[in-house]
């Protein structure tokens, strides 16, 4: 399967301009015969939205923007980032990522872990998602994570336990730390790669990380998107800091081979994890 990664910047608060950019890149990816194109977190809106959140929100079932993207998804699968407002829950806004396929919404993931400390203030403006769930695409199961979700390894565990052979993490991660003299990247960037390698290997799953670039209010988004194979091997690495559009062939058979050779998935015991979590949550509640 040929995958396109759109390591782009967005115009902050301008869904119209961002939609056009998405459609251009989707067209390019289709021409290159890609079957999936992945955009970063909040790709339709930009990241540092604050009070713009309600103004740029999209209702997936009635939005013209979504209709145009759904039409485009007849030719290629898309992962896009949006501010989502659900019809059944008006006035509640999620930092969401949607997987669109064959003209339909295959899945929407609502970011569970909203960073709200230091330079981050997501929980001030967004509601929290509640679930990690893999979903079927073709003969494979896929899972979506958004930025900080990926740095909590329990998120990827849930997707692995749910059978995901492809874990897609979309991100708007600003770079921090400049005292590492020999490095090409911010000190915060290798954390993502560390997680990518570990999760891909121990989940026997492809991990595709798509981070954005550009600058918003002085913060630089670090780029450095990547793909790790189900053997934990680096398969593609995009440059840090620079916009990029890359295509990469991935071999979904490697998921089967990795699971056959190293049966972490077969030997997983979600019921033991569930029991342990149940106990510790009960104990916490009693405290």
């Amino acid at each position: 399967m040929k995958v396109a990664i759109a390591q782009i910047s967005s115009v902050l608060g301008r869904v119209d301009k961002n939609l056009e950019r998405h459609l251009e890149l989707i067209e390019k990816a289709v021409k290159e015969k890609a079957e999936l194109i992945i955009f970063p977190e909040l790709s339709l809106t930009g990241y540092s939205l604050k009070d713009l959140v309600p103004e740029v929100a999209i209702r997936p079932d009635s939005s013209e923007v979504m209709a145009r993207l759904l039409a485009a998804s007849k030719d290629i699968d898309l992962v896009i980032g949006l501010v989502e407002e659900r019809r059944e829950n008006p006035g509640i806004f999620y930092n969401s990522a949607a997987y669109l396929s064959l003209g339909k919404i295959a899945h929407i993931h609502r970011k569970v872990f909203l960073p709200t400390s230091g330079m981050f203030e997501e929980a001030r403006f967004f509601a929290r998602g509640h679930d990690f769930r893999a979903f079927p695409i073709g003969s494979n199961r896929t899972g979506l994570l958004i930025c900080r979700d990926f740095l909590h390894y329990s998120s990827s565990y849930c997707l692995m336990a749910d059978g995901a052979g492809l874990i897609i993490a979309v991100s708007a991660a600003p770079g921090r730390g400049i005292t590492d003299e020999g490095s090409q990247c911010f000190q915060s960037s290798p954390n993502w790669e560390l997680m990518g390698q570990a999760i891909s290997y121990f989940s026997s799953a492809y991990v595709i990380y798509c981070n954005r670039v550009g600058i918003e209010d002085g913060a630089t988004f670090a780029g450095g998107s990547f793909i790790y194979t189900p053997d934990g091997q680096l398969n593609l690495k995009l440059p840090y800091l620079e916009p990029d559009f890359s295509l990469q062939e991935i071999n979904l058979d490697l998921i089967r081979i990795a699971r056959k050779n190293r049966p972490y998935k077969r030997d997983d015991r979600p019921e033991a994890i569930w029991r342990s979590l149940g106990r510790l949550i009960r104990v916490q509640d009693e405290d």
Binding site: R14, D51, D180, I215, T220
Partner: protein, 270 residues
């Protein structure tokens, strides 16, 4: 505290180019003193937008810092940027001739604000983004004039300590004469920052790094190799200058108030 100069240069040149363009400016403008910060910022800006898109203003007061003026002109020549020299003495003297003072800080603040006033005037005339040159050390201890040198359109230098600016200057090939100069705000002839603050930049940056970047408490910082009196002095400077790092408080009356809960990004729609 050493920095990765290659990465920092890349990030800061991207910052100058992108933030300036997003705000609708092709041109950038800088007040050049012949000191380290404005020189380094000019080097970065030329890398970011090219010499044709940077304009420098050299704004001496009398003959307070003739060497600074000479060095600033030299920097313009090396970088190939256009500049103009504006003597601010007449307007400063006109004011103080009727508002007498022998307090050099009052005079220095007035000069800093006059220079910024000219920069904003030129910014509007030339449609140019004003590049700020306040470094992290100055911002944290409040060593700058509010609405004077602390003002700007964007500030590429504000997350670099003075000693880190020095490291970056070496990397960028800034003339040795500028690197070796004693930092001065030019408040009076022969004035140096370090004498006025009472600490060397090296000491100051080490204390700030512990307190700010490493988030040590005063007690933790004092237990390291730092001198207690100096740590307390720096902590007090940080506390007392918070007002210089913020927009002034707005009295809250309504449900939605500028500065409280009317929250939009700086790069709104850009």
């Amino acid at each position: 505290m050493k920095i990765n100069c290659l990465l920092v240069t890349k990030v800061l040149t991207n910052f100058i180019r992108e933030e300036s363009h997003k705000a609708g400016f092709e041109q950038n403008i800088i007040g050049l003193s012949g000191g380290l910060d404005s020189t380094v910022c000019s080097y970065l800006a030329v890398k970011a937008v090219g010499p044709q898109n940077l304009f420098a203003l050299i704004m001496p007061f009398k003959d307070y810092d003739q060497e600074g003026v000479r060095l600033a002109e030299e920097v313009c020549k090396i970088l190939g940027i256009n500049f103009e020299k504006i003597d601010i003495s007449p307007q400063i003297e006109a004011y103080f001739s009727s508002h007498l003072t022998d307090n050099p800080v009052l005079r220095g603040n007035k000069m800093a604000r006059e220079r910024m006033s000219i920069l904003y005037d030129y910014s509007a005339r030339m449609k140019a983004m004003i590049l700020g040159t306040s470094n992290k050390t100055e911002l944290l201890i409040g060593y700058g004039t509010i609405h004077g040198d602390l003002a700007c359109g964007i500030n590429p230098m504000g997350d670099l300590y003075k000693t880190q600016v020095g490291q970056l200057a070496r990397y960028l090939g800034v003339p040795e004469k500028i690197l070796k100069r004693k930092p001065t705000a030019g408040l009076w002839p022969g004035q140096t920052d370090e004498d006025e603050i009472g600490l060397s930049y090296e000491e100051l940056d080490k204390i700030l790094f512990r307190l700010v970047d490493e988030r040590m408490t005063l007690e933790e910082a004092i237990k390291t190799d730092l001198e207690e009196k100096k740590v307390r002095q720096v902590a007090e400077l940080i506390r007392k200058s918070e007002y210089k790092r913020k927009m002034p408080p707005v009295a809250k009356l309504s449900e939605r108030t500028v500065g409280h809960d009317f929250l939009y990004p700086y790069d709104w729609g850009k």
